[in-house]
């Protein structure tokens, strides 16, 4: 194997590839980057068993003299390329067991891993992928993954449920105390699908989507989900099991609706959560809609003190007075996902789940379960 190309092109590709490199897996073969060199392109494949990235480099600067397949130790390779000077780098395999890199005044040899140890990963492409604006994809990730469960007692809840039905694609995440849902329209009728993607995989995908390309193609099958983004194929394993049926959890009728300014509501709740007897992560605040149309956010902990915040709804609230308690963290997490400056908080009762929605965020529903106090 022998080829040369621009150092920058290689580095930029490697920076994406390394997102799927694992450093803690017990399997040393997954700490490598597999390079497949063909006369026309160089393909980099990495996998940490949860996500796999296949990236093809087809650059004008690429000159291939002979093809081949190798597995290079990922971390060392990336670090070396990152620090190399010189615009062009020449890579060649010496004695079948080491990779020689010549760039500028440097001449570096790196021992290779056994390429046969690398798993056989296939990246199956569908004939008719789902086409989505990459900004929308990013929004889906931003608005759902935070609500996945962090504890792995129920592994299925660590993932985001993606459902395709007719012309709708719905992404749902829940940790059984809150639920976050985003629904978008997709251009064509697709085959119905119901899969669960690990939340962490989506977070990684979000980081790759910085490239500012317009579209992303989604290839879904029953075992894996594959995102095609320019020259990058990003594949994630799916979680096995059935995601809980959530459609019935979301109330349809809301007798009480209050409209808030998002920023002011968020900072009030933030302040109220300061004096909470429990750790900040699970601090409980109370919301009280008074008869005079003023909302009070309170928290009280006998040993520390108490906070009372007044928030004025933007319009006269619809419905009866209500007192409800909930986790301030869950509430502010949910608020952060909205682009709208004005949000509606909709209640059905004091011990029933409530919902946050915004005008500028069509298809987004954030649902939170209240906490029972006294």
């Amino acid at each position: 194997m022998n080829f040369s190309l621009s150092t920058n092109v290689l580095l930029n590709s490697l920076l994406i590839s390394q997102k799927a490199l694992s450093n803690k897996t017990p399997a040393p073969y997954l700490q490598g980057i597999k390079m497949e060199v063909t006369p026309k392109e160089v393909i980099l494949i990495t996998s940490n068993s949860d996500i796999s990235i296949k990236l093809s480099i087809k650059d004008d600067s690429l000159v291939v003299e002979s093809s081949g397949e190798i597995l290079v130790p990922g971390k060392f390779f990336v670090d070396i390329i990152r620090k190399l000077e010189g615009d062009r780098i020449e890579l060649s395999v010496v004695d079948n067991n080491s990779l020689r890199m010549v760039a500028g005044d440097s001449d570096i040899s790196l021992n290779l891993l056994n390429v046969d140890d690398f798993p056989e990963l296939d990246f199956p492409l569908n004939d008719e992928p789902i086409k989505i604006d990459s900004k929308i994809m990013k929004a889906i990730i931003h608005q759902t993954t935070f609500a996945t469960s962090a504890i792995e007692n129920r592994p299925i809840l660590t993932g985001v449920n993606i459902r395709v039905e007719g012309e709708k694609l719905t992404a749902i995440a829940t940790d059984s105390f809150r639920l976050s849902q985003k629904m978008i329209e997709i251009p064509k009728n697709m085959e119905s699908m119901n899969v669960v993607i690990p939340g962490r995989s989506l977070d990684e995908l979000g980081r790759i989507l910085e490239m500012n390309l317009d579209e992303i193609l989604i290839h879904l099958n029953h075992k894996s989900i594959l995102f095609e983004y320019g020259n990058i194929l990003f594949q994630s394993r799916l979680l096995d099991g059935n995601f809980p049926e959530t459609s019935r959890l979301i109330p349809t009728e809301f007798p009480i609706i209050i409209k808030f300014n998002k920023e002011r509501l968020a900072s009030s709740i933030d302040r109220a959560s300061l004096l909470s007897s429990k750790e900040s992560s699970s601090s409980i605040v109370k919301l009280n809609l008074r008869n005079d149309n003023i909302v009070e956010i309170t928290s009280n902990s006998p040993e520390l003190g108490k906070v009372t915040e007044k928030v004025y709804p933007l319009e006269k609230a619809i419905g009866m007075p209500i007192k409800i308690a909930f986790s301030s963290k869950y509430f502010n997490d949910a608020l952060k996902t909205f682009n709208s400056e004005e949000v509606y908080v909709k209640f059905t009762g004091e011990i029933r789940p409530f919902v946050i929605e915004g005008d500028l965020d069509p298809g987004v529903i954030q649902l939170i379960l209240p906490v029972r106090t006294e």
């Binding site: 399997a27 073969y29 997954l30 996998s47 068993s49 949860d50 796999s52 046969d116 140890d117 798993p119 056989e120 990963l121 296939d122 792995e152 592994p155 299925i156 690990p198 075992k223 894996s224 394993r237 799916l238 979680l239 096995d240 099991g241």
Partner: protein, 344 residues
């Protein structure tokens, strides 16, 4: 050394081998197996062979893996992403280890095909990890196979045992161990001596490579020769070599066993059970010695040797005990020879 085929495995474990091979051929594998039996009965090798068979895409008609495809070669190196081998060097199996497996099996497999996890020393489960494992067994995933390897099946949870198919591995036949060692190029004498000593095939292989073991066998023969020639007392002969042998308890035990076996050979020769001889290369020597001692004497001596063997584990003065034993031994032959000469 990895097993190549089910036929090869059947030499070691006839019933288990046939059973597994049949289950694969009729596609009736259980999702959970317990391989139970003493150490060195090819339990781990069998588990890997089963894994290889499940993963190999080019099996022959008798369910044997091809051994050369990408799947097979990676199973041999234990780098296959669908194979999980949990090994614990005499430590408890922690619940985190089982949880990791759980998380892994909560996702679709990396490569298409079945997934197999092998847990060695399954008797080292603690209460928590065993219960987590049990939870996965109650709802086994599709195409996931579990093999627990243990020496003490009774220390596993009853509920785990009842959900698994149990395969008993028997101690490997000594003829099989002997022929294995001979095939690897070790001398017939050494192979047969070691195969008499242990049924643990892995230990046997380690032993034949240990120079002290080789020396012990050699010393037994040398001492037998000097018993016959009577140039020098065997007590003195032993004294020159004993520091190496008595320095290590395992070697001491082996040496004593060899001594016993040699005496047993003499007895067997006397009663003409020639095919039972262990020191087959020394038949002539054994023959001569057997004429010099009476059957009753041999029995008495064997009794003393077995007595010493059981006392070895106590805190006795081993050197002294051996001297006493060897003196007895020597006197036994003196007696035999003198009595035979007096009869002339």
């Amino acid at each position: 050394m990895a097993l190549l085929s089910w036929n090869q495995f059947t030499f070691y474990q006839p019933s288990v081998g046939r059973m597994l091979q049949n289950s694969i051929q009729t596609n009736r594998l259980s999702h959970s197996y317990i391989f139970e039996g003493p150490i060195g009965t090819k339990r781990i090798d069998a588990a890997f062979l089963l894994a290889k068979t499940l993963l190999c895409t080019q099996k022959d008609d008798h369910a044997n893996p091809c051994g050369v495809c990408h799947h097979c070669t990676r199973v041999d190196k234990n780098v296959h992403p669908n194979l999980f081998f949990v090994q614990n060097d005499n430590k408890e199996i922690r619940k985190e280890q089982i949880k990791e497996l759980l998380v892994e099996f909560g996702k679709a497999s990396i490569e298409t095909g079945p997934r197999i996890y092998i847990i060695d020393q399954a008797e080292r489960f603690n209460q928590y990890s065993a219960n987590i494992l049990l939870k996965t067994m109650e709802e086994p995933g599709v195409d996931i196979f579990q093999i627990l390897i243990t020496t003490q099946i009774n220390s596993l949870l009853k509920t785990i045992i009842s959900r698994s198919q149990i395969l008993h591995f028997r101690p490997i036949d000594k003829c099989q161990i002997k022929s294995d060692l001979e095939k690897e190029g070790f001398s017939p004498l050494l192979s047969s001596a070691v195969s008499e000593y242990t049924t643990n095939i892995d230990m046997a292989r380690e032993m034949v490579e240990n120079p002290l073991i080789v020396d012990s066998v050699q010393l037994v023969i040398e001492m037998a020769r000097s018993l016959q020639i009577k140039e020098k007392s065997i007590v003195l002969h032993f004294k020159e070599k004993r520091s190496a042998i008595l320095g290590d308890m395992a070697i001491t035990d082996f040496f004593l066993t060899m001594l016993t076996l040699f005496l047993k050979d003499i007895l067997n020769y006397k009663v003409r059970y020639l095919d039972l001889l262990v020191f087959t290369t020394e038949t002539e020597l054994i023959g001569k010695l057997s004429e010099a001692i009476s059957q009753k004497r041999i029995e008495e001596l064997l009794d003393k040797m077995l007595g010493l063997k059981s006392r070895l584990k106590y805190n006795i003065n081993v050197a002294l005990a051996f001297d006493k034993l060897l003196a007895y031994l020597e006197r036994g032959f003196d007696h035999g020879i003198s009595s035979s000469s007096s009869s002339i």
